[in-house]
Symmetry: C2
Subunit: 207 residues, 2 copies
Amino acid sequence: MRISQLSEKSGVPVATIKYYLREGLLHDGVLTSATQAHYGEEHVERLRLVRALLDSGGLSVAGARAVIEQLETPHRHVAEVLGIAQSSVTPDAASGIELDRAAGLVARWGWGSDPGDTASLGALEHALAGLDAAGFDLPEGVLDQYAAHMAAIAAEEVAEIPTESVDAAVRYVVLGTVLVEPLLLALRRLAQQDASGRRFDYRGPDC
Amino acid sequence: MRISQLSEKSGVPVATIKYYLREGLLHDGVLTSATQAHYGEEHVERLRLVRALLDSGGLSVAGARAVIEQLETPHRHVAEVLGIAQSSVTPDAASGIELDRAAGLVARWGWGSDPGDTASLGALEHALAGLDAAGFDLPEGVLDQYAAHMAAIAAEEVAEIPTESVDAAVRYVVLGTVLVEPLLLALRRLAQQDASGRRFDYRGPDC
């Protein structure tokens, strides 16, 4: 199909498609003349993915490009993918900050971590520093509970990683990391409303 | 103290402090002459909070302003605060989209929700749509597990809300909502690394 048809089918404006092509988020079509290219179903699918990453995933163009590069790179080992996927979508806040506290916690919980991925440890250290800076006192017991729940979630998620091909695993891990995050946060907020309603028996501002 | 001393004590450059003053993130000091103002300890503390919201919380200036407004507004009821806090920091993605699926899930889990807060339901609907668009098949059982863990987390969090004053509760809820999110996401990623290491027995790219 031509770019105008691709636009119609995907709902993405032609100018935006051209932008994605320039930014490397969408692979070129097959040239049919000097000025025209042919696009296929895989372009429609890719556009859907790009929109999901930018929109729901909240990624920057550079972040989405990193994810797509991961999806297209052949990998040697399923587990290798996880670290690469995570560090490609985690801004490395770790550079130059001490990771002692995060590393200490992870050790206390008995978690093995990917020594090459300081980005996730850095994100933990950063989040804790933010709570400190805001004067928010998070009891250690609550932190341990968070860790326990996330460990249970992660165990279920990792058990679901398909192993029939490394590509399928990469796709699952990368998208599961990026696109499930907003899902979990939305669920937490809704669950808080429920729990709050139960504790405080609140029925709206006018009751 | 003068603005230069405030800068020194807080580590925030004078130009940035002036920017926060203009944007309403920091309250004015007490004028001591036509061109000089006096700042106190509460300004140092506020600067720490602003940095935490912008930096760890990942909020925009408008988002941080909304949070600070909540912290400064007198509230009538602790539970009222939760919805306001959440909607002030949740971009309302719900406008114009159907919320049927999200509402159906919440009903299935037996969660009561704040009818005035469509933002959180919208965020759930949005996250699910993103997974669909990317062709990521999330089994219903996994979604239910996510919900169960988030319900357990929320119950613990809501139980921790202090009730000695509405102000203390507001502070706890608003900061707990915004600043704990990056913490949970960092924990999930680290827990995934641990779970992945256990499942795939992976010790680095060169083993």
